[in-house]
Amino acid sequence: MDFNDTPEEAVFRAQVRAWLDANAERLKPGERNPGLEGRTDPGAIKRAQEWQAKKADAGWACITWPKEYGGRGATAIQSVIWNQEEGRYKTPPNIFGIGQGMLGPTIMVHGTEEQKQRYIRPMLRGAEIWCQLFSEPSAGSDLAGLRTSAVRDGDDWVINGQKIWTTGAQYCKWGMIVTRTDPNAEKHKGITYFIVDMQSPGIEIRPIKQINGTSAFNEVFFTDVRVPDKNRVGAVNDGWRGALTTLMNERHSIAGGGAGGPDFRDLLHLARTTNLHGRPAFEDSAVRQQLARLYIRGKGLQYTAYRTQTALSRGQTPGPESSIGKLVGAPLRQEMASFAVDLQGPAGALIDRQAAPEEGVWQQMYLGTPGLRLAGGTDEILRNIIAERVLGLPPEIRVDKGLAFKDVPTGPKAQ
């Protein structure tokens, strides 16, 4: 065991650092990049696009992508190294993750040559930002239950319906949408995948106000929106295959993404500076037990990531342990935030930036973390995935198997 880079990795890291030193400012100790909350601000979008273009010009954008699309054909471990190093510098929020992390890889696998030539490079440069139109009001965990329809009309398809939880719809140029094209087929078999211009007539975007007061997500309504057939990704009624590629990349990128916000050191500091029973909370044994539990869980997760990186470093596919990241990480962050707010006593009820302890960062995290446990696969879906794909347990018994989609029971609301 050895936590050092291999000689090749060390050379690569030095190369990365040299470029970053010349092109960005290093974060000071204790300084953090802003989270994704400010990402709808036009200034932030512009800064993000400028930074992305700078990286693309130097060959440091989407480095694992093939050279022919502007990447550098880097290995997975090189990508880990790049992310570690970039994270040490002042950078604008990364608003390109959905396109570059999920949709780009989908187009590269399932798209036509023409689509690859048209879309991949502007996506890599950040010149065109992408969103994902998957979930619907009655199709979340059961995504294949989606009802937004696409009907063929000459060279076009006409889309009607509603999508929800679409990140960044208000500033995106393109979206990728899964639609129902054959309601008479079984639910997975009548789905078709399209690229849609978000400025098309008939698209209405309404931001969703979340419990933390921000609006990173949107509802997107489609009324007779026309999409040319050349924007279809994959065969007609075979869109589920492409959707699975996207989802696989999604879980990977959510688990791997740095969540930002306060961390264990900040929690320790809080426990030292708040009082309980007339002495620092840190001296209370129940508080200490909880601190230790959270620390050990966090470290367990970090060392599990090291195991995954080891596999990547050897050019192997990571083992099943890599699937636990989001299932452990999201509830852990929620628990940390809840505990931190508790430590603050009555002041924990404040979220006022001037008055709340630590400018209310823990309260923000408390309000933000429930979403982490739902996005990109709920805790419950992730347990199903671990149970079925990792542990080899039998799949759910499905009452909609073999039924035409239009005959699948939907409950009283959708009737």
Partner: protein, 369 residues
Amino acid sequence: MNFDFSDDQKLLRKTAHDFLSEHAPLSLCRAVLESDAPYSDTLWKSVAELGWLGTAIPEEYGGAGFGHLELAAIAEEIGHALAPIPFASSVYFATEAILLAGSPAQKQAYLPQLAAGARIGTFAHTEQAGEADLGSITAAFTNGTLTGIKWPVADGDTAHCAVVTARQGADTVLALVDLSARGVTRKPLRSIDPSRSLAELRFDATPAELLGDAASGAATVQKIMDRAAVLLAFEQLGGATRAFEITREYCLSRYAFGRPIASFQAIKHRLADLYVEIELARSNAYYGAWALSTDSPELPVAACGARASASDAFALASQEMIQLHGGVGYTWEFDCHLFYRRAKYLGALLGSAHQWREQLVQRLAAEEQ
């Protein structure tokens, strides 16, 4: 980044796995549990012949000259097999203590015999219920003799020698004692896991020698505990993994309501959660093994994480094992109780997870100063 065992270490582990699958089935653990035998002598001799007892002992003292990563790999398999032998007492405690603090003469006198399995060693520390803190030790070392009572001592009924914590004036010291010497009385105590034995040891002016010097005694005790914590974590991890494997198989083969119970989400999610806890424990144990094998200053913190994580994971696995087996899981006939007992035995041996979590916070606080 290389946070994994090497191919050679994995091969060693597989060899251990294959050997124990054949020679230490659960029926062997059960046989010891149901008999008066303190351990399986046959398995002990085989393990000695395979050289496992001397894994981390240098060749000059009759060992294999490997490191602690190799020992951790074997420990996991010992745990996986619920091997009914005094491996932990003799290897993680007595051998490690002598390696850590012994003089060349002491090493020469003890290590070759421990490596060969001709002698069994143990560590005698606690004297009362509750946490065994250094301040509460009353056993006394004076003028080359030891007087006091230690209980429970793992394998105290059969061990040939013991490393014993004692007071010498104001200092905490470690005494090395030959248990066949005069003034030693052993009283076997019933263990919650009768496949692993416990005893009371009384010393009455028993001849003993110091292990290490008096000034560093307290620090040495802590080092012994930290090293053993990491190695025991691997045993616990092995036990938890085995409990999980058996439970998974059972849930796949047991039908209720016309389908395997492993197809119900209520069961699948519990198995998924258990898998997650074991993987987290594994990662923490790996980190502990790295810290141990490199003698890293991170060892004190890493050992706490490895130990608490593994204790909790094995406890949970053994509880879930009975619960998911249903009624048969509560019968003597099924093997679930072997795991339930071993989990508590190993969890108690070096102090509870609560104790190690408290230790962790103290050490994190010290690091910050």
